[in-house]
Assembly symmetry: C2
Homo-oligomer: 468 residues x 2
């Protein structure tokens, strides 16, 4: 079987063939670090983490580069509002994003470069574009000349004439053509600036990704990703400037759809209500990751507290099954450990919804096997479910979901031991028909927030709390 | 009272007077990210975090810059050994260091710049040194001319002639004087390099700190810190090149002493055994932080598992006292909330050992007050201890030490409730002289790893495990 991915540049699902056998290089656009992350910001983090994990499960050695845009008009505005240096603002939110990605169990990128750390590489790229006639310097700015690049509009499937009409002619008086975009912006008074052959200034947003992707991954690399809102103008401009400079650039373009709330793209105003911290008051981190991963990456995800908690209830069925046989060594997160239909679903442009359906089927089989006393079949199902969950990064028996903190882990272990002990005592009391004692133990557990449910196979228990 | 700090450059304790009223700027040397952090690496992180917190407690607005050395011979060597790009190695260990600092409860620096992200600033600084005659370019390298700077040796109290004799004349044939040091190194084949007016190369180690400190904190700033092993040559060279370029640079130089093990400076070979992860199998993160913070920062810390576990036992007395009245709102981490002797100790060149003695005295008073039933005195002591612990960053009732993970927190809460319930049942059984029932509860708890100890004030309990 071959992994197939939907490539935005050809508008088709293509067989994935890496540039170098056994290796994959991925660049995807990270955050402009000017505000706290909300759920919409994190979707690409989870989507490209699932892609990476699936490629690793198929045996690829994956290199991932995700940039940090640490200079930008919005960062400067925020810095002015908060009366802090721009770099303190950028560093603060960069850290918030790192934490949020980590909380959601995203593997850290192989490299996470900051835009301001790559000014020499950007200046060199602008130099090449000026030399080839694809760019022009005027009044301390440098612009890319869209007219000089005949393939402009190819990625976003737009005709140059339509773009001409849509562009804002009053936008920037120095541009020769309203479609042109800035590669380098002359410094305005009071703004941070770097020296350049065109005078002090700062890089344009599109430029940083072209310069850093090629610096870290080479002039040609496998996959460029990001949210669909970046196709135009960001990725169109990246592609144009990189190709015009002679870099073959990305071989596949992958775009995840956005997260909406009440039908609107999750922007800053909605985002505040849907900050990661806020959502995590309702569900656990692994449940939020599962929610973001379980939808197909090219489908719009309509976020609501109802849907996220409903999804969490589903996930807990998977989690509860895995817990039933916990203690066994976990299988490796390899495609070879997963059932064929799961592999087929993942290979089909990361068909996570179909892959998750395979997980639920296997959970059903496994629970049935436990009930029927078929230990071998139960263990087989457990192994499959564990591997599939690991591949998606949602295996509750694995780090980071298992408590990392030694102290909390001890508390959890002690609690389990105590609850199991009390449940055994209650079973004994019931066997002895000492109903008062059995009820007393039940009440004792309930008083501590531990609810028990009697199943044919024996009691199961969970710690419950408000809002769940 | 005035804060006084030992300034290495004057070899004396000086009143601390900040450059701008109410604000403090601190630069201290961070890690060369080429291996996993060991306990010795983390001491400066904790020491300068205690300095920062004390300054915040005294009402200062503190800006902290800590660099990441992400290019260096050792990183290149490691990259070659591991057959990974140098930037993947650097990013990997940068993240390990960040996690280790975070695990030890160090506040993140206001900005944490990477050396390779500041090549333009370094090239500009070299340009100024060449212009002033303090540096010379030869064969693609640029060197600082020690002879051109009469104050050389001032910080480390060394006489130029002694340095002349000690320097390795065979070291680098391009140098005019064996004491000279590289500001820019011409690229060797296969090594990463950046363009410069002197040809492709990379910056010298000393240069990066001079360039970044001034870029972020200004040409003059309050405090420059680091380990004493950095005084010579690193800080001596930084000071020389910055002053020679016309920057007034740091007003106070603070140096922490190192961590030894079996009498030797903790280096890489010892370091492996004393990796943070390893030590945290023996004590909790807050206990390791307490251990590193409690010694005076200018005293050598002789690390041993015995001393760290002994220190943890001491800390648990503080922690147990705070837990006894937990639930009260925590006082702010302000000097005004701390007893005068604590403030005096901290103001005396961060006298943490004396400050910790005040904490223990107050714990003793507080425990006595509880035993005597003097609730008001008990609460007063509790408030003081809580504030003092917060100032040192070791308050167990505060983040990050309280469980951050919702799930673990629930387990911990449920465990507490259950244990308290069982202890109450046991007290009742004892009151009823039902010794069998009392023992049964005790055994049940012990089976779950919960040990209880009967004190005159009632039973106390703790989760215990192996190795503690």
């Amino acid at each position: 079987m071959t992994l197939r991915l939907y490539d935005t540049s050809t508008r088709s699902v293509r067989d994935f063939v890496p540039l170098q056998e056994g290796r994959v290089s991925v660049y995807y656009c990270g955050a402009t670090v000017q505000a706290s992350p909300h759920v919409g910001h994190l979707r690409p983090g989870v989507v490209f983490d699932v892609l990476r994990r699936w490629m690793m499960a198929r045996g690829y050695d994956v290199t991932v580069c995700r940039n940090v845009t640490d200079i930008d008009d919005k960062i400067l505005l925020k810095a002015a509002q908060e009366q802090r240096p721009w770099w303190a603002v950028a560093q603060h939110y960069e850290r918030e994003f790192s934490h949020a990605y980590e909380i959601l169990g995203c593997l850290p990128p192989t490299v996470e470069p900051r835009a301001t750390g790559h000014i020499p590489q950007m200046i060199a790229l602008i130099g090449r574009l000026l030399d080839s006639g694809a760019a022009y310097a005027v009044g301390g700015d440098v612009y890319f000349s869209v007219a000089s690049y005949p393939d402009y509009g190819q990625l976003s499937r737009q005709r140059p004439d339509d773009l001409q009409a849509a562009a804002d002619p009053a936008g920037d008086v120095l541009k020769r053509d309203p479609r042109d975009f800035a590669l380098w912006k002359a410094a305005k008074p009071g703004e941070p600036a770097w020296e350049s052959p065109w005078g002090p200034g700062r890089p344009g947003w599109h430029l940083e990704c072209s310069a850093m992707a090629v610096y870290y991954l080479g002039e040609q690399f496998d996959i460029h990703g990001g949210g669909i809102d970046l196709i135009f103008p960001h990725h169109e401009n990246e592609l144009a400037q990189s190709k015009a400079a002679g870099d073959p650039f990305a071989r596949y373009w992958l775009h995840n759809s956005w997260v909406t709330a009440a039908g609107e793209k999750m922007g800053k105003s909605l985002g505040n209500a849907l900050a990661v911290d806020e959502v995590l008051k309702h569900v656990r981190p692994v449940e939020l990751r599962y929610y973001l991963a379980a939808a197909h990456y090219r489908s719009t995800l309509e976020f609501s507290y109802e849907s996220v908690t409903e999804s969490a209830v589903g996930f807990r069925r998977i989690s509860a099954f895995l817990q039933r046989l916990a203690g066994e060594p976990l299988p490796a997160a390899l495609a070879s450990e997963c059932p064929d239909p799961f592999v087929a679903a993942m290979d089909d442009d990361l068909g996570v919804p179909a892959a998750v359906a395979v997980i639920f089927d296997t959970v059903r089989v496994g629970n049935g096997a436990i009930e029927a006393g078929d230990e071998q079949a139960a263990r087989r199902a457990w192994r499959s479910v564990s591997a599939m969950c690991s591949v998606l990064g949602v295996n509750p028996l694995e780090d980071p979901w298992r408590s990392r903190d030694r102290e909390s882990e001890q508390a959890a272990t002690a609690l389990s031991a105590l609850v199991e002990e009390l449940l055994a005592a209650r079973q004994q009391a019931r066997a002895d028909r000492d109903w008062a004692q059995a009820d007393a133990i039940r009440d004792r557990l309930a008083g501590a927030g531990v609810q028990i449910e009697d199943r044919p196979t024996g009691p199961v228990w969970a710690v419950v709390s408000d809002g769940r």
